[in-house]
Structure formats: C-alpha cells, structure tokens
C-alpha cells in the first residue's frame, strides 16, 4: 500500500522512518544556546542524579529552565546545572583499562573472607 515504513512507536502516533532525513551533527543555521546537563536531588538524603539536558543562554536561565522542564511534579529539592562541554567522561569502551583494576582485586569485597557461621555480627 504505502511502500513506506512507519513506526507506531513514534510515541504520539506513527511517523515515517523512510524518506525522512536523519539530521547530521552541527547543521543548524543559528548559533545555539549552550547545552547544559541537569542533575536533580530527589529528596534530602539522596545524591543528585542526572535527569537530562537543556539549552540556556547562561547558568541562571539554565536553572530556571531546569525547574520548568524537570521538576513540575515535586521531583526535586535541589538542582545542579553544568555546561555539557565541562563534563569529562571515561571512554565507553569496555576494553578500556579504566575499570580493569577492580576486576582482579577480589579481596576488596567482604565475600572474599570466609568466617565461621557461628561468629556473631559479622
């Protein structure tokens, strides 16, 4: 019939997955507001957790936008924003030696040590 694939799971209704450009990096014609990453503390006693990102011209606007976009239903008691370009990240490659040292140091885990069952409170 259509010869054009649609995915229903374009969420709010079917959208075509063929005959539509996918966009390439950095092709917008306007200078964009910088991208900020947003972290929200859900309630007192919890860490801030990354929830997403947004665009803002400066830090203050980023905080205001973060409140409107990510905390409309009491999702948080505190918000951090940081420009995405300031985030340093490890390589996603599993072969990366970054996490290897923890693999061969089993003695760092409590289960490494066998203690008789009748010793209390261990």
């Amino acid at each position: 019939m259509s010869g054009q694939d649609f995915t229903t799971e374009g969420g709010h209704g079917a959208v075509p997955l063929q005959g539509v450009p996918a966009a390439k990096p950095g092709h917008g014609s306007e200078r964009e507001w910088p991208l900020y990453e947003v972290f929200v503390r859900g309630k007192r006693g919890l860490n801030h957790v990354h929830v997403g990102s947004l665009h803002a011209a400066d830090d203050e606007m980023a905080l205001r936008h973060a409140r409107d976009v990510y905390t409309r239903r009491n999702e948080g008691v505190s918000v951090w924003v940081v420009q995405a370009r300031h985030v340093a990240a490890s390589s996603p490659d599993e072969k990366d030696p970054m996490f290897a040292p923890s693999g061969d140091k089993v003695y760092r885990h409590p289960t490494f040590y066998s203690i008789p069952d009748d010793v209390p409170h261990m």
């Binding site: 969420g11 306007e30 409107d68």
Partner: protein, 321 residues
C-alpha cells in the same frame, strides 16, 4: 560514531558483535557506545519526530485554553499543554545525545522535511475534543509509549519513563471531562458523541499502517527499538477502549466492532489508509496551519534567543574584566 571511518574490518566486526551482544542481553545502548549507522539514523528519525509530535501537539488543545469553561478546567488544560512542551524537550534532549543539533531538528520540522504524528493535523472543533484527545489520543499514545520505556537506547527509554508518568494524568483528565459532560444536558452528550465519532478512526491510525505494509518493523524489533508491531498495539488499544466507552455511554463509529470470543479480542473495521497517507503527505485539514504557526513562533522568537546570547556574552566579558 566516527570510529567506523577508521576501523579495520576486523575491528568493525568486533564492535558490531559487542553491540549485538549488548542488545541480546537486553542491556541498554548508551550515547558514547559504538552503534551501527542504521541504528543511529532510525533512532534520530523516531525520537526527533516523536519530539515534533509533542511540540505540534500543543496546538490543537491550546486552541481551547482561553475558552475553557471554568478556572479549574483552564488550569488543568494549561498544565497539560505545558507537559506536552516538556515531553518535546525531554525527547529533543535524547535526540541530541545522538549528535544532532536542536536547531537543525527545529528547521527540519518547519521546512516539513521531518514529520510529526498525523493526529495533530485534525482540528479541535468543540470543547469536547479536549476530553476526547485526552482519552483516546493520549490513550493510544500510552499504548505506544509504555513498551518504549524498555527500548534499547538508554536516553530514549529514560525520557519515555518520565513521559509515561505524566501521560496518565492526561488520559484521566480527558476521561473525567467527558464523564462530566455526559452527566450534563442532552446537547452536551451529543457533543461528546460527535467528538468521539471524529477522533476514533484517526486514533486507530496513530498505530500506523498494518504490519504487512511496515517492511522495516523486523529490523527495528531486532534492534530493540520497537517492542510490538503496529497491529498488536492497535488491537490492545481497541480492547482497552471498548469497556471505557461503555462506561462513558458513547459508541464508536464502526459497525464491524464486536467481541470475538474465539480470538479473545474485539474484531474491528479497517481505517481509511488513503486518508492516512493524504494527511501524512500534508493534505490533512490542519497541516499548513500547524507548521505555519510553529514557524511563526520560531521566527518571532529569534530576537529573544539572540538577545539572551548577547547578554550572556556581555556578562562573561564583564566578569573577566
């Protein structure tokens, strides 16, 4: 990812194997992981157009904000339309993790190069449409979106979890609105039925063409991007909606709609797929109006975006001096 440009064949097949392995274990793919170009492009199209749908989706209901019949209904509608903006922003944010720019996505929307859900190209002719959209259109969206919380791409799944939490409010406020009208006058009941008659078939079309006309479904399902076929989701939606309609006291405009005890599902008629394709191609009742409105909002806002940047630049310079 640029890795593929420089990788040797052996390296590439190792990367592919690891990707396939991650999918097979039902683990998530994260933004900086290597991924096949086809996977990335499919995701960009799907997430971007989902975002566009949320943003354009503000218009049909926004039409009624100034004419809502009470302060209570106006506050609810404002909150709902604000949520749609929020959903669009979560999704644009997820699309950007795939390396595309927000600005370009917006331009592709207003130039009509990327699409959005056809349902928003139908007009909201009566206030009852606000209720029907919440009940049927958001109900269909929930059917689509709940399985997407488990989609293989991490940022998309996380955005969908947030969206789904809020979507439940949307559906319930719509249904409650219609219940209230059904308890009103004969005229109000007729308004609800008329609205349901207009939206039932377009809501069924939201699930897309039948499975046999969706040749790439298998690939999307293998990648874990898509979790159910169009027909499966449509059936689920019909089965859910029939008892809700009975409770409300309205009917659906389909003479073929009846329970099939053998299948354990409702049988129903075929939507008009020619109409669907016409609307997708831009010939629906409101396509031009929706895009023109979005373009005007974008262009009228340009000076604000520029001024905010200029202000931020100046503040930074002042801080350095």
């Amino acid at each position: 990812m640029t890795t593929s440009d420089t990788a040797t064949d052996a390296q590439l097949s190792a990367l592919e194997a690891r990707f396939e392995d991650t999918i097979a274990r039902s683990e998530r793919i994260e933004p900086r992981d290597w991924m096949p170009e086809g996977y990335r492009k499919t995701l960009v199209r799907q997430i971007a157009q989902h975002a566009h749908s949320e943003i354009i989706g503000m218009q049909p209901e926004g039409n009624w904000i100034t004419r809502a019949p009470s302060l209570r209904r106006k506050a609810i509608l404002l909150a709902k339309v604000q949520d749609e903006a929020g959903h669009g922003l979560y999704l644009y944010s997820a699309a950007e993790t795939l390396g595309v720019s927000r600005g370009e996505l917006t331009e592709m929307l207003i130039e009509g190069r990327q699409k959005y859900s056809s349902i928003f190209n139908y007009p909201t002719l009566s206030y009852a449409d606000v209720g029907t959209i919440g009940w049927l259109v958001d109900g269909a969206a929930i059917c689509n979106q709940v399985p997407l919380c488990r989609t293989s791409y991490g940022p998309y799944g996380r955005a969908m979890i947030r969206v789904c939490k809020e979507e439940s409010f949307h559906q319930r406020q719509g249904y409650e609105l219609l219940m209230t009208m059904m308890q009103g006058t004969e005229e109000q009941r007729a308004m609800v039925q008329e609205s349901v008659n207009r939206f039932w078939w377009p809501a069924l079309m939201m699930f897309g063409p039948p499975d046999e006309d969706s040749p790439n479904t298998a690939q999307s399902m293998a990648w874990g991007i898509k979790r159910n076929t169009n027909d499966d989701l449509r059936q689920r939606f019909v089965d859910m909606s029939v008892p809700q309609a009975e409770a409300l006291g309205v009917t659906f405009p389909d003479p073929d709609l009846k329970w099939n005890a053998e299948r354990g599902h409702h049988d129903f008629g075929e939507p008009d797929w020619d109409e669907f394709m016409q609307v997708v191609k831009g010939n629906g009742p409101c396509n031009a109006q929706r895009i023109a409105h979005r373009r005007t909002a974008h262009e009228d806002g340009a000076w604000v975006r520029e001024a905010a940047l200029a202000f931020a630049d100046r503040q930074r310079e002042a801080a350095r001096a």
